[in-house]
Symmetry: C2
Subunit: 312 residues, 2 copies
């Protein structure tokens, strides 16, 4: 196999733990950094669960193989140790500008000259914190989707300062950790996947809130249009989790969009507050049986709400 | 089979001819109306071609069966004749408010009391011409997609004046002409399908014009996300035809959107003016072989254009 690299992942939360596991699964030497021993313990639990997902979801991944990978990941609460000899740093700390800037500023003291910095940031613009890295030519976005082992694409997105040769190097690196790289030429806040996906789902949210059509109709038409159920917008939100959907629509609501305001209100009051947060909880827009299959709409999804007047 | 209805289709252009053929195929008594003998001749040619498409694309449609349907359609340039005894009128005249109002106003003189009026309008709001019908309770949208025999869904969209029982009747009528009805509860300018589809494709157009990613990348990511190639935005535009794409983006350009302005400029100058109008012409964003399969990007699609600065 190709040369094993030294990769440090900063932030071992949901995505960070998946990134660390993926790189280790493909034979790289991985250190996962987080801010406290408690955070490390939580990360270790996540990693075990991820290993189980590999066995469950992928062909030819035995329990032994998956577990061997678990044992290969090193953990640290020291940025200095994370930085030592790192070929690549993949940053997945919380989506907070101060936290990101602070992390990179501290990291800069310890970094070898050649280390390439990759951020998984999803809601912040890399250019907004690139200066904290001290090496904008070697810094770019490397953005994953959830369930990396299934959606194994990574969006490679440079800023205007990123060196072309660095981008090319990262494009060649991605397959060595089992990722299909998607090449963006310039910064785009929502990347490619979310530009398509979030606008698609927002159309559905708006049509539901406007009272144009029922949830079942919207999911059926979307599925027919795409040719698969993958883009059924309400099924998809249940899959991703309604907490995530709430965060996203709350951001849109904060711009004053009345349709987003009403959608996030319904999500919170009719679903989330009642513990119905999607497939994982057994209920969201749909009700799920013990095998995780949707058996019908939930009452909150079937309910007739007073429609919102269109903004225009 | 269910009771054969008397259906008159007003306007036997691309969609009108398909609608007439479909209704006749399913055993209804169909009259197609258009404004002149020349228009009728053109309609007859279209209908012949549509019959060929049924044979080509559907299982169990023999040439004899398809041709027998062709012979069943009656034609007229008289609105009075079209109106006579009609159970349903399906209106597919040009997307021009004056033409629609004029058609309905003239029609109203001749219509039996019980006739239900259905409009296929796609860019105009039915409410903007409903008063010309003189029977807003019996008027609603009945909106098809292109290639009806393949995309056999019809969006059933009432105005605020449409009687519920009429909507229900139309929902029951649709399957008798081989259409799956989609129920909208209120008017929505883009209906459901185009709300999803046009925003999806607009995302791709914008990302191309912004220089965020190449056409191949955008089509690949979209296909991966949807799970099929059905929603590959540039392939899809080639399928529908770049003339249509140009009309659509020109409308958006007229609102002053700089990305739409640049996209429609490229479409016109780099594609359409050179005769490259999509799959039908053998070339659009992709080049097509004699079997209609894409063999690679066209030069105009591969060209590096100066990117447009984002509007914000």
């Amino acid at each position: 196999m190709s040369e094993s690299k030294k990769i440090s992942v900063l932030g071992a939360g949901n995505l960070g733990a998946q990134i660390a596991y993926r790189a280790a699964f493909y034979g790289h030497s991985v250190t996962a950094f987080d801010i406290s021993d408690d955070a490390i313990s939580a990360a270790k639990e996540r990693v075990k669960k991820i290993a189980g997902n590999y066995v469950r979801d992928l062909d030819d991944v035995s329990e032994d193989k998956a577990k061997a990978v678990v044992d290969k990941i090193a953990y640290t609460t020291s940025l200095e140790e994370a930085a030592r000899n790192a070929d690549y740093i993949i940053e997945a700390v919380p989506e907070n500008l101060d936290i990101k800037k602070d992390t990179y500023t501290k990291l800069a003291e310890f970094l070898p000259e050649e280390t390439i910095l990759l951020t998984n940031t999803s809601t912040l613009l890399p250019s907004d914190f690139k200066d904290a890295t001290g090496r904008t030519d070697k810094f770019l976005a490397y953005h994953f989707a959830n369930n990396i082992h299934i959606a194994n694409v990574v969006e490679v997105m440079p800023t205007s300062d990123t060196d072309d040769s660095v981008v090319e190097q990262v494009m060649e690196f991605a397959p060595t950790m089992g990722m299909r790289p998607i090449r963006l030429h310039r910064e785009h806040a929502k990347y490619i996947i979310n530009s398509f996906y979030s606008t698609w789902v927002d159309q559905a949210r708006d049509m539901w809130v406007l009272g144009v059509a029922d949830i079942e109709t919207l999911d059926e038409v979307a599925s027919m249009l795409a040719g698969t159920q993958q883009l059924a917008p309400f099924l998809a939100q249940d899959n991703t989790g309604l907490g995530v959907a709430y965060q996203i629509t709350k951001n849109r609501a904060e711009t004053g969009d009345p349709l987003a305001i009403e959608f996030s209100r319904r999500l919170k009051e009719e679903f989330i507050d009642k513990g119905h947060i999607g497939k994982e909880s057994g209920q969201g827009f749909y009700i799920y049986d013990e095998n995780g299959n949707p058996t019908g709409l939930s009452d909150a999804a079937k309910k007739k709400y007073p429609p919102v007047d269109p903004a225009k």
